[in-house]
């Protein structure tokens, strides 16, 4: 599944990044690499973008961009 499919309050682990060029660079800069844990926090009133908790920071991504990040769902217990 991809990151944009994660529901509010759900947790996930990054498996792969399918973005290219600048978008890929941006993701890497933010520390979004395989095995990074993410939590889906909230969506904007128009349902897009969505805010995620990634490596101690709240980062907003457009759903279109988030769809380029492949993840697997994770239990809350494995978050910390």
């Amino acid at each position: 599944m991809s990151l944009n499919e994660l529901q509010l309050g759900e947790y996930g682990v990054v498996k792969a990044i399918h973005a290219t060029d600048k978008v890929r660079r941006r993701f890497l800069d933010l520390g979004i690499v395989p095995n990074t844990k993410v939590k889906c926090l909230y969506r904007s009133p128009f349902k897009d973008p969505t805010a995620y908790f990634i490596r101690g920071t709240t980062i907003a991504l457009r759903n279109e961009d988030a769809s380029l990040i492949e993840i697997t769902r994770m239990e809350e217990s494995s978050w910390a």
């Binding site: 941006r26 890497l28 933010l30 926090l41 128009f46 897009d48 805010a51 490596r55 980062i59 991504l61």
Partner: protein, 705 residues
């Protein structure tokens, strides 16, 4: 955000930074929004604006401070997440640390979010041995019960680590002390160095000797080689500019690079940057876990709760509109009284000024234009502009400092995405409410050139402080009756502003479908934790940095404009003044679009500063020779109605106030920011055309009703 004298004026150093003095040079680097500019301000005392949202410093400010009888020059580099140079800011920061060889680089990091910050820290340490880590926001970290083992961290990184709370000046003395030590010492520091996988290290060793032959610096050679492995094209250009090394010209280097790439391909590695970044991220994670303990895992809950509300489906947008309306309401109501007071004062001084000049036997051909032209215009501009700005800018800065602005961008982004532009444009629009020239400068926060250009061209569609008085006066006189209720008037004003916003989106969409084609770039926005703004500092800073700055600029254009207007009103050709001639010249066309010659001419003469549009209209109707001040809107309405103003005229005037050419200062700023004459002309023609078209439509519709 580069909104200030220091950000836009002589103190800013754009793109290339060259140091000429003999002081020790200290670079200040760090992620966006870690209080880097606060550290800078606290150290240098130079007031450079800081804000609680990412990507503020886009040009570099420079300042000095002394410590222990010695002067240090501090360079505030743009905030960046990495040095891999995917944006101009990263390129500036990287080139400075790499090629200008600062004596020390202070890396400012957020103590509440060390893990992500370590990414940049490790990258900078690949470039220079002379680094110090300044762990800022320590007070916040303590509040959130984040425990950082400084000794372990310092040991792991191999550099000094100093904890600071720059807002309350804590830890800065130690920072200056350590900076002095590092910048003076000849000792070889041996900071921690990231090692990569065997394959990458092998490939590195194929290029590194070639670079070392050229620059004789093992550390930088290693780093440059790494970038060459990553095919970093912007670095190749910088190498050429700074060190006169042309990679394509240097044969042995070219061969070595090609061989290294072939080797990597054979080993199945295509995306080198992934390996580099992953390694750094993993090292960051390791060091972080080693040195930081979080006692309260739920420390982020407060911000999350507030955000849930602010970004919620039902409350998000109304809340923002309410807040915007509230700010306007406060600005309108709050500035009424001080405006009247100021204008009483300034116009009260005028007779004394006349007496004073007469005492010197100043001839009337000097006295008249000076007092009735220049002074009166200035007095008008100051009394109309100063109070609203002194209220609006501090309020806006409070929003900025508290961290609310990025949430606005978050809530609004979808609309901007639909218009193929960037959510951050909503922030530059907000800034435009204060001053369009400031908003245009602010567009630097948008990375993609295409989206930045759209934001610059459309910034003028939101009315600035200079146009508010005109809008408010017209609304009060013609749309809500004379018993003005500030609530209704701010509601109508909010509607007018919404019209401007809708037009911004439409025009942005049209531009990105036609002349500025392209896909929206990625939208990555950090939502920083809310911070309690320092109210005292906010007021002082926004008054000095923004209010006085904008007012000063407005006065500079208003003074000559006042002289020109006086001359037009007082030089007669035949029986009529030049002003009257101009008015009758514009009249036929103006009536065609629902205005009249006086209104249109007032907008043209108001090119230097929109504030003087209304005074010129009044002056022309009264056929007086000088600007006239009206203390009552009743009298003003009577005057306008007696000159043929109807509800249609006022509607057209309202629309034309919103949509016409940007003021002189904004035009100059657009030219400076885009570096293009063509886009400046387009920015002038586009809103003017839309204004004329809308006014014409209103006029047409009204004749058929």
């Amino acid at each position: 955000m580069g909104l200030t004298a220091s950000g836009t004026g002589f103190k800013s150093v754009d793109k290339k930074i060259h140091i000429t003095h003999s002081n020790k040079v200290i670079a200040l680097a760090g992620n966006p929004n870690v209080g880097k500019s606060t550290v800078f301000n606290e150290l240098t005392g130079l007031n450079q604006h800081t804000g609680n949202w990412p990507g503020k410093t886009v040009s570099n400010a420079e300042g000095t401070y002394s410590y222990g009888n010695e002067e240090f020059t501090l360079i505030d580099l743009p905030g960046t997440y990495s040095l891999l140079a995917s944006s101009v800011e990263e390129e500036v920061a990287r080139d400075f640390i790499c090629f200008e060889n600062p004596d020390t680089t202070i890396i400012v990091a957020d103590a509440t979010n060390l893990e992500r910050n370590l990414n940049l820290i490790l990258q900078i340490m690949e470039l220079t041995d002379h680094a110090i880590l300044c762990l800022n926001l320590l007070d916040e970290a303590k509040k959130k019960k984040i425990d950082i083992d400084f000794r372990k961290l310092s040991y792991s990184l191999g550099i000094f680590v100093v904890g600071t709370s720059a807002r309350s000046h804590q830890g800065l003395d130690e920072l200056m002390e350590k900076t002095k030590i590092v910048s003076h010492t000849e000792l070889e520091f041996k900071p921690f160095e990231v090692s990569y996988s065997e394959v990458i290290e092998t490939a590195l060793s194929m290029i590194q000797p070639e670079i070392e032959n050229l620059i004789h610096d093992p550390k930088k050679s290693r780093w440059i080689s790494l970038q060459l492995l990553d095919r970093n094209t912007s670095l190749s250009k910088s190498l050429c500019d700074h060190l006169q090394i042309d990679i394509l010209e240097n044969k042995s280097l070219k061969v070595a690079t090609q061989e290294a790439h072939r080797y990597l391909r054979e080993q199945g590695i295509t995306e080198v940057s992934d390996y580099i970044v992953s390694t750094i991220v993993k090292e960051s994670e390791r060091i972080y876990k080693n040195c930081v303990t979080i006692h309260d895992e739920k420390y982020n809950e407060k911000t999350e709760k507030v955000d849930h509300f602010i970004t919620s489906k039902w409350f998000g947008i109304p809340l923002m509109l309410l807040l915007l309306g509230g700010i306007f309401w406060l600005t309108i109501v709050g500035s009424n009284y001080p405006s009247a007071l100021l204008s009483d004062l300034l116009f009260g001084i005028q007779p004394y000024l006349v007496d004073f000049l007469n005492w010197f036997h100043t001839p009337s051909w000097i006295l008249d234009p000076l007092v009735y032209g220049v002074y009166q215009t200035l007095a008008w501009v100051v009394s109309v502009m100063l109070p609203p700005m002194a209220i609006f800018f501090p309020l806006f800065t409070l929003l900025e400092d508290s961290g609310f602005l990025p949430r606005i961008a978050f809530n609004m982004d979808h609309l901007f995405q639909k218009a193929s532009c960037h959510g951050k444009q909503s922030l530059t629009m907000c800034m435009g409410f204060g001053c369009n020239a400031c908003g245009v400068v602010g567009c630097r926060i948008i990375d993609s050139p295409r989206e930045r250009l759209i934001a610059i061209i459309t910034n003028n569609f939101v009315p600035c402080n200079g146009r508010f008085p005109t809008l408010i006066a017209i609304i009060t006189m013609f749309f809500i009756g004379m018993h003005s209720n500030p609530l209704i008037s701010s509601f109508i004003l909010t509607m007018v502003i919404l019209l401007g916003i809708v037009m911004t989106l439409i025009v942005s969409k049209v531009l990105s479908k036609t002349v500025l084609k392209g896909y929206p770039s990625s939208f990555v926005l950090e939502l920083p934790p809310y911070r309690r703004p320092q109210i005292g500092k906010v007021i002082v800073r926004s008054i000095f940095d923004r209010t006085i700055f904008v007012l000063g600029r407005a006065m500079m254009v208003a003074a000559p404009a006042g002289l020109l207007i006086w001359m037009l009103a007082n030089i007669h050709v035949g029986s009529l003044s030049l002003l009257a001639h101009l008015t009758s010249f514009f009249d036929p066309f103006a009536r065609f679009i629902g205005l009249d010659g006086v209104i249109l001419m007032a907008f043209i003469l108001g090119f230097p500063a929109n504030e003087i549009v209304m005074p010129i209209i009044i002056m022309s109707y009264l056929a007086t020779n000088t600007l006239v001040e009206f203390d009552s809107l009743f009298a003003l309405k009577d005057l306008l109605v007696s000159h043929g103003w109807t509800i249609v005229t006022s509607l057209c005037a309202l629309v034309f106030t919103l949509f016409h050419f940007p003021c002189g200062t904004t035009c100059l700023t657009i030219k400076k920011e885009t570096g293009s004459f063509k886009w400046t002309i387009i920015s002038i023609l586009l809103p003017t055309f839309i204004g004329i078209l809308l006014c014409f439509l209103i006029k047409m519709v009204s004749t058929f009703i």
